[in-house]
């Protein structure tokens, strides 16, 4: 986790996804999976992408019987739980960035506002439960 040095390009992300879904594998094995998903990449592209993933800390490699086998260094769950301080600001006020449509606008709600909405939802919940009981 600590070794992760940089973000991912779209292509690197796809290669990492293949690595997660396939499990440890050689470049050829991973290429087959990527091709099955409709991507027309060549061997050298996949090899480059995997090398880059390794240099950024997302993957590791070892030589098995003379061929290089890559495996993911981080799991999807690890990355999901990660909190990126530097990215948070940009992404949190994403609603205001042009070319973004966010689920909610603004990122500051007072606790009173949130509590009031909590009560509204709870009331609706109890109503639903009562209706089900009937």
């Amino acid at each position: 986790m600590d070794e992760i040095k940089a973000g991912l390009s779209d292509a690197e992300r796809e290669a990492l996804n293949a690595l997660w879904d396939h499990g440890p594998g050689t470049v050829r094995q991973l290429l087959e999976l990527i091709e099955a998903r409709g991507r027309k990449w060549v061997y050298s592209t996949v090899a480059t992408l995997l090398r880059r993933l390794e240099s950024k800390g997302y993957a590791t490699s070892e030589s098995v019987n003379g061929s290089l086998v890559y495996r993911a260094a981080v799991s999807r769950e690890d990355l999901l739980d990660r909190r990126l301080k530097e990215a948070a600001a940009e992404l949190c006020d994403g609603a205001a960035v042009p070319l973004v449509l966010a689920l909610v606008q603004g990122n500051r709600f007072t606790s009173e506002e949130l509590d009031r909405i909590r009560r509204i939802i709870d009331e609706a919940k109890t109503k639903v439960v009562r209706r089900k009981e009937r």
Partner: protein
């Protein structure tokens, strides 16, 4: 430019007022209200390519405060006025309406002020553009931290996309506390925060995904692009900020409706997920200055209430769409100020709008001006402005791209495969449904026929009335009626008056006797007697004809009675 902006602002204000008034109607859902506000936004960014043949309300001329009434940002116009002032010629009326401003009062250089204002406007617009592009680039860079979405989430989005009729976007999971978002630089990406993926209730997540996909379905990403462009021009205009805010609000509400319609069992889960996202955002200590959106809390409450209770339709009805279309047609083309004809340009140039034409004339103006040494500096600045304008608005510029987007959006809204087209298509079957076999209309028509039969047919009140009238007639004129008795009495009276033993008969006898006595006296008297005789005979003949008439009447009444009886019998049989 200032004239155009003032005119556009006034028209946009009128459109906004219409949108506000129409929004009061409870029958209009968020989607319909959104369309009305969209007309305002399109008006704000649409260049005056088409000119109406009539003269516009010249509101800005009178409405503008004196300090900015005279200046005009049109360099060509300024050029002309300056030259005209110098040469003291006033015979040539300038082509553009903004030229027709009153002569500036002494002590103020309004041309300079106008240029200054325009320059300030452009300068701030350019600054905003740079700042916004910077934000876009930074945001794009941050997306490198996104991770590929798990297969089940991809499948979920794919299923929902099919359900909503949109092309499935690429999905990225953000290892952040950001809200779910759509990012539409290049291929549209759906950004989902990792928190939601790992611990949200599936129904809630599904509703959130449906909400985001509904934005694509409704074409809100195009509106957002339009808004981005409008913001560069109208940053100073409250009408723009109001329109922007309303568009955002109505789009969110409309997408919430889509979400709960797509995931009907997920109302409570969706509300919870929404609250969860907001709570997370509020507790995150963002290093960036807090982005306070006024009324965000109240709006969230409104959304949650609507999600939990809403029954309104999320589609736009045909009348609303037609109304908005008419509004747009009326308001969108630029009004040709003071009845001046639109600038003549060939087809390719007209596409880029009049602004390009005016920038060409600016270049001409600079050439004209360059022969005067004093005006050289002035001309240079103008050439710069012209260049800037070309960069801002010419081919390959954001302006042109945005215009293309507007066209595409309109095509999407109204063209093949659009909601409008679908609704128009639906109109046919709907009309058939409304008026065709099995429809309410047909039923009503049937009911009308039945009612008419009930009202006028056998057994109806009408028939009963007719029958009772006939009976009355029979009673009045038939056997045993007063009429008959009167007639009989008349007959008797006639008999007593003129019959045997009556005074008349005795008189006649007397006359006969007298005649016998006078017979011998003269022939003429006998002739007279003859005459009186025939008269008397005639009188008795008249009474006879009356009796005949009576007989005829009676026979007619009898005939009527017989017909009535037949009819009544027929009815009884039918009833049985």
């Amino acid at each position: 430019m200032l004239g155009w902006s003032a005119q556009t602002t006034v028209i946009a204000m009128v459109l906004a007022a219409i949108a506000i008034l129409a929004s009061r109607s409870r029958r209009l859902g968020p989607a319909a209200r959104h369309v009305l506000w969209l007309v305002v936004m399109i008006k704000l960014v649409a260049p005056p390519v088409v000119n109406w043949p009539w003269s516009p309300p010249k509101l800005w001329v009178t409405a503008r405060p004196a300090s900015i009434a005279a200046p005009t940002a049109h360099p060509i116009v300024n050029q002309q006025t300056v030259r005209e002032d110098r040469e003291a010629t006033i015979d040539e009326t300038p082509a553009r309406p903004t030229v027709a401003t009153p002569a500036p009062p002494i002590g103020w250089n309004f041309d300079l002020l106008g240029q200054g204002l325009f320059g300030l406007w452009l300068g701030i617009s350019a600054t905003i553009a740079v700042w916004q592009v910077g934000r876009i680039v930074r945001f794009q860079r941050r997306l490198a931290w996104a991770i590929p979405a798990p297969e089940w989430l991809v499948q979920e989005v794919r299923d929902l996309s099919v359900q909503l009729g949109v092309r499935a976007p690429e999905i990225l999971v953000l290892p952040d506390l950001a809200p779910p978002m759509l990012w539409f630089l290049g291929r549209t990406k759906l950004l989902v925060p990792g928190r939601l993926v790992s611990n949200a209730d599936l129904l809630g997540l599904r509703a959130i995904l449906a909400h985001e996909l509904a934005h694509l379905r409704r074409g809100d990403h195009w509106v957002r692009r339009l808004d981005f462009f409008a913001g560069l021009i109208w940053w100073w205009n409250p009408v723009y900020w109001l329109t922007r805010e309303r568009l955002g609000t109505e789009a969110e509400l409309a997408c919430d409706e889509w979400a709960i319609r797509t995931v009907p069992d997920g109302r409570v889960s969706y509300a919870e997920a929404l609250l969860d996202v907001c709570r997370t955002l509020s507790t995150t200590r963002s290093p960036a200055p807090a982005l306070g959106v006024a009324g965000a809390g109240r709006f969230l409450e409104r959304r949650v209430n609507m999600i939990l209770q809403n029954h309104a339709p999320s589609r736009i009805s045909v009348p609303v769409l037609l109304g908005a279309g008419v509004l747009a047609l009326l308001a969108l083309p630029g009004w040709s100020a003071a009845g001046s004809p639109p600038a003549k340009s060939n087809d390719s140039a007209s596409k880029e709008g009049k602004i390009l034409v005016s920038s060409a004339t600016i270049a001409d103006a600079t050439i004209v001006a360059s022969d005067d040494d004093d005006e050289k500096d002035d001309a240079a600045t103008k050439a710069e402005i012209a260049k800037e304008l070309k960069n801002e608005l010419g081919p390959g510029s954001d302006f042109q791209k945005a215009m293309k987007n507007v066209g595409e959006e309109l095509k999407k809204e109204l063209g093949p495969g659009s909601d409008f087209e679908k609704e128009m298509k639906n109109l046919g079957p709907e009309l058939q449904k409304e008026l065709g076999p099995g429809s309410d209309f047909e039923k009503e028509m049937k009911n009308l026929g039945e009612e008419l039969q009930k009202e006028l047919g056998p057994g109806s009140d009408f028939q009963k009335n007719i029958l009772s009238k006939a009976k009355e007639i029979e009673k009045r004129f038939g056997p045993g009626s007063d009429f008959e008795r009167k007639m009989q009495r008349l007959g008797q009276k006639m008999a007593t008056k003129y019959g045997e033993g009556s005074e008349f008969a005795e008189k006649m006898k007397k006359v006969k006797k007298d005649a016998k006595t006078v017979k011998t006296s003269s022939d003429t008297s006998s002739e007279k007697k003859e005459k009186t005789k025939t008269k008397a005979q005639k009188k008795t003949g008249a009474s006879k004809s009356k009796a005949r008439d009576l007989k005829a009447l009676r026979s007619q009444i009898d005939e009527l009675n017989a017909k009535l009886k037949k009819l009544e019998e027929g009815d009884r049989e039918e009833d049985e």
